[in-house]
Amino acid sequence: MRVEGRRQKELILILAREFASKLATPMFIADRHGDLVFYNEPAEEVLGRSFAEVGEMPADQWASLFQPEDLQGGPIGLEAMPPGVALLERKPAHGEFRITGLDGRKRLVSVTAFPLFARSDEFLGMVAIFWEQPGVETP
């Protein structure tokens, strides 16, 4: 006999989303597969579009969507960004890089990302908080 209940997000992600939704700091949440599942309103200001418009998406899509570049202007992949380190290596990371928001503006951001574990061996996803740095470049 199968239990008929529907799927829901992991409780840790639910609590992270509730935390993010009340936070003035931009916050970005991905699940264990790397799929973007939420970012808050302050993050919308930096990323240039609301989460409602963007929706959930897999890691390879969001990792390129915002055109991340290193400080020398070279493209960087997911594995080189703090969110990628948190997802792929499951350890906290911090760094600075540039992104191009979906509003077309290029921004320098500082990002701190950390993995989420419910149990020591149960990886559930990643949270990244970030700040836009002064010295914004716009096209």
Binding site: E4, G5, R6, Q8, K9, L11, I14, K22
Partner: protein, 236 residues
């Protein structure tokens, strides 16, 4: 599957004339399965009169499913008569903690000076289990335990047997400080447990006017507790 509520009070047992209608004992529900197996949900003070009733029956095996280890869900365990028979096989299930085992955490209460007897001295054959991440079976019943929103490691349970289901989430805040009707179901704590169940036993400790004082601290209000798609709701 047949459920009997032996205790539905939160926080503290409340004996007296004012609580005669629903009783004054803290959380405990007896569930009888189709094959006669016994599942007990939580070990609040309601487990004591349940144990008295089971005393004559002398069941060989009992499964005790703890939602969490706050005192109002555990304080009756030492007074549960089957614990005091060496013939009882008592399986205790509960939420995993990243710090201490379930047995160690229960022993913090069931040991001097808070209790006169060490947990290890209780005669029943006790086995402690962290609830599985996936569904599991006890007799003819499938069980699902999910972490739910409440301070400390806490789970709710869903029991399904013969096309019928019961969900038990006695201490729970489905959403903090937001209107539950605005939260997508998949982002609602406990939703996978309660969706479509025949009977839901759920926290409803506070009225709406009281909840604003206690949000995030203890538990849900009666209005916030209601899942729009659950068929039945019985407040604790």
């Amino acid at each position: 599957m047949r459920a009997t509520v032996w205790g539905c009070r939160g926080s503290l047992a409340t004996p007296g004339r004012e609580t005669l209608r629903y009783g004054g004992n803290t959380s405990c529900v007896e569930v009888r399965l189709r094959d006669g197996s016994i599942i007990v949900l939580d070990a609040g003070t309601g487990i004591r009169p349940l144990g008295v009733k089971l005393g004559d029956e002398r069941p060989a095996t009992i499964h005790l499913l703890l939602t969490h280890l706050h005192l109002d869900h555990l304080e009756g365990l030492g007074f549960f008569r089957p614990c005091w028979s060496g013939e009882t096989e008592l399986h205790v299930w509960g939420p995993l903690s990243p710090v201490r085992s379930l047995e160690e955490r229960i022993a913090r209460y069931l040991s001097p000076p808070l209790f006169p007897v060490q947990l290890s001295e209780i005669p029943a054959q006790m086995t402690f289990h962290d609830v599985p991440v996936e569904e599991w079976e006890i007799g003819p019943t499938r069980l699902l335990a999910h972490p739910v929103s409440h301070p400390g490691p806490t789970v709710g349970y869903r029991l399904s047997e013969g096309g019928r289901s019961l969900a038990y989430i006695p201490d729970h805040e489905p959403a903090f400080g937001v209107d539950l009707s605005t939260v997508p179901p998949e982002w609602m704590s406990g939703y996978a447990l309660v969706d479509g169940v025949d009977v839901l036993l759920h926290d409803s400790q506070y009225g709406e006017d009281e909840y604003s004082t206690w949000a995030g601290v203890i538990r849900a209000s009666s209005r916030r507790s209601r899942s729009p798609e659950s068929q039945t709701s019985a407040g604790s």
